[in-house]
Symmetry: C2
Subunit: 342 residues, 2 copies
Amino acid sequence: MVQKKEIVILTGDRPTGSLHLGHYVGSLLNRIQLQEKYKQFIIIADAQALTDNWEHPEKIRKNVLEVALDYLAVGIDPDKSTIFIQSMIPQIAELTVFYLNLVTVSRLKRNPTVKTEIQQRGFGEVVPAGFLVYPVSQAADITVVKGNLVPIGEDQLPMIEQTNEIVRAFNRIYPGDVLVEAEALIPKVPRLPGIDGKAKMSKTLNNAIFLNDSIDILADKVMSMYTDPGHIRVEDPGKVEGNVVFTYFDVFDPDEKEVAWLKEHYRRGGLGDVTLKQRLIEVLNTFLEPIRERRKQLAKDPAYVMKLLSEGTEKTQVVAEQTMQEVRKAMSLDYYNGRERR
Amino acid sequence: MVQKKEIVILTGDRPTGSLHLGHYVGSLLNRIQLQEKYKQFIIIADAQALTDNWEHPEKIRKNVLEVALDYLAVGIDPDKSTIFIQSMIPQIAELTVFYLNLVTVSRLKRNPTVKTEIQQRGFGEVVPAGFLVYPVSQAADITVVKGNLVPIGEDQLPMIEQTNEIVRAFNRIYPGDVLVEAEALIPKVPRLPGIDGKAKMSKTLNNAIFLNDSIDILADKVMSMYTDPGHIRVEDPGKVEGNVVFTYFDVFDPDEKEVAWLKEHYRRGGLGDVTLKQRLIEVLNTFLEPIRERRKQLAKDPAYVMKLLSEGTEKTQVVAEQTMQEVRKAMSLDYYNGRERR
């Protein structure tokens, strides 16, 4: 009889800001679905966020709560998904230190994702060591819970490669096949563009609609959305392709007939951008209102949210310590059983 | 009233082999004296030893016990010194990860000690990340117990500089002056040469007399000792300066009058190397015999030695967790009080 491998998902975010519709489409929705079928760990990667925010720990601290509020508001269920805070799992740091021996500096410098990010941040040769080695710490995040399925964007594939290189090196050197290779789960949904029409919605690019944007802010943002620059007068025919407003209709308007009719009308001419955008505002509000409402309720009781996080973190600690004991045994570092921790 | 700062010593060894007379003269003797006056932590740096022995963990494991036996045999008293195993203190790994953000890769590459060691090991550009960053993990070793006095050889001064740079950066960025700068304590005693006359006694150079060498091995080693190459016949006058045998007499023969007489006789001629060496064998055996005897007794009960190590490690964990809680508070990472650990 072939034993079916249990699927363990590791996913999460750096707590550097509130989450936006791009996160919803790209990962949150996926997680809400995955939690129904699989064991799912969601990491709030505060220690990793510090690798390029080390001078602003209070920002990270604040956003741990914001991100948790976003998670719960969109429907990530702490009874189904285990949400945990990275820095509260010392085993991740311990694994990171051991894994650093299995990766060369030149290998880390060749990582295309890190390479790009180092350029974007203008670090050059003065890159902080913590930033250069963060893929090693990601390998620790994944392997500490024995995650074998990691939902990521295509641009993050080098991270999975780095993780699996470490897993293979570890299992080759230390007996017992303790670590598990991870597979990337690349979502099929296209990326949600920013309101300015740029391919990526991001806080830094200032083109994001946040899950907790108020009705007024949402209206302002939709009204400033990129449409068809050739569509000057209402009666002109307009282009639907590359028109961000329609991309959002496709994603957020459950009434497909309406969307088809709007596209046809817009192409024909006679449908003004303002009218169109007012309808999108309604659609987005219908989608966001229950999320806003849940978020508002939860935000009144941050202690409750922290309690949920601490429970998820404690559950993760148990799994992490189990992995760590296997790692220590494989590495001949199991000096005495049941090491005391204080 | 000026409050006197408590002196906390952090010292220790990588468990890569048994300790030898060079260690005794250069550090162990010092520790035996320091433990009478100060709070002293002695780290058995197994995780650091793995940074260039990652493929041989069983060697490190074995030598943790060997080094502990050497410590106890020479008179390091576990009631006075706190001996602990590095990898059993997860807080060291946690601090290392945080400190990595405060050090640039180029700074690490400029560290003269590491630079030399990378050359010696022939790592070149394929240096393992763990090896390049080990000075950061040393900063964690020292600061986790708030060590403020670190006995080192002069060649290790860059390590203290690196530690203090991290301490200053941390205290500048994160409030509360949590971390403490360390001072180097450079022993005045000259380094004990190897039996081949080379400046440094080392296992790698194969010129060491180990604390646990048997009577026979000791005799062989002394008989092969470098003396005065110009001293061919017994009746020839011999040189005392640079003559390793006399360096050892100076250190290990408590009878200064005898040593003066031997030097005078050797210079004059008529004192053969064999006779001289036979006397040194006696002197060294007088010194080593009680150490060998204690070591033999202790080696019969490795469980007892591990118990002593686990007690020291648990004592260190309490101190380390205290530091960690202050660090977490300063870094705004104190999400909830008294984090549970399993």
